[in-house]
């Protein structure tokens, strides 16, 4: 049972434009959400997180939005850069970490 879902397996964006990666979850008890970035043949690295008491968290070019009523979060990257090309995993934490299946982002120069 996939409690965290990323329904878009891939996304292509032009350099300089905004990248929006989406994530949905089913368990309303989740109270902490994370985004990880993964390059091929490397371990995922932590990117940004948000607590359920907030609806937005920003760190440089990266912003995560949380809509608890819709059980939806999104990661915005502005402006997108070629180095952002990677697989992005959404995760939720309650007793353990639940990961989505990932979205492969390609930023086209």
């Amino acid at each position: 049972d996939q409690q965290v879902k990323q329904n878009s397996p891939s996304l292509s964006v032009q350099e300089g434009r905004i990248s929006i990666l989406n994530c949905d979850y089913t368990n309303s008890m989740f109270d902490y959400f994370l985004w990880y970035k993964k390059y091929p043949a490397e371990g995922p690295t932590f990117l940004i997180s948000i607590s359920s008491i907030k609806d937005k968290n920003e760190d440089g070019r990266f912003t995560v939005f949380l809509n608890k009523s819709a059980k939806h979060l999104s990661l915005h990257i502005v402006p997108s850069q070629p180095g952002d090309s990677a697989v992005y995993f959404c995760a939720a934490n309650r007793h353990q970490f639940y990961f989505g299946t990932g979205t492969s982002l390609t930023v086209i120069p």
């Binding site: 902490y32 043949a41 371990g43 932590f46 997180s49 934490n93 007793h95 970490f97 990961f99 989505g100």
Partner: protein
């Protein structure tokens, strides 16, 4: 600062052979330790986690086992590998464990296992 070491980086093994992947964490005490697998084209699947020495919880019944002989050492093993064991294996650690934790998960560099 904390670091996590995982080896080997790549491994090619024949079907039926044994497996041992090792992971160690430095710079922290009593970490929670995890083994994940990323199969081709799929997400991160939690295989095992451990909250202390000798304490192993299995998430998915399978051909693999895990052990934690020391506080900061986590080992993934198999007696006889199957073709379906191929994948990218990741060790990870976190600081705390609780109902409302804001802790992060930190990953090792991964092991690409190919079973032929």
């Amino acid at each position: 600062s904390q670091t996590i070491h995982q080896w080997p980086a790549t491994l090619v093994q024949p079907v039926g052979s044994p497996l041992s992947l090792e992971c160690t964490v430095e710079g922290t005490s009593n970490p929670n330790l995890y083994w994940y697998r990323q199969a081709a084209g799929r997400g991160l699947q939690l295989l095992f986690y451990s909250v202390g020495i000798g304490q192993i919880s299995s998430e998915v019944p399978q051909n693999l086992s895990a052990s934690r002989p020391q506080d900061r050492q986590f080992i993934l093993s198999s007696k006889k590998l199957l073709l379906s064991d191929s994948g990218f294996y990741l060790c990870a650690w976190s600081v705390s464990w609780g109902p409302s934790t804001n802790e992060k998960l930190f990953f090792g560099s991964g092991t690409q296992l190919s079973v032929l």
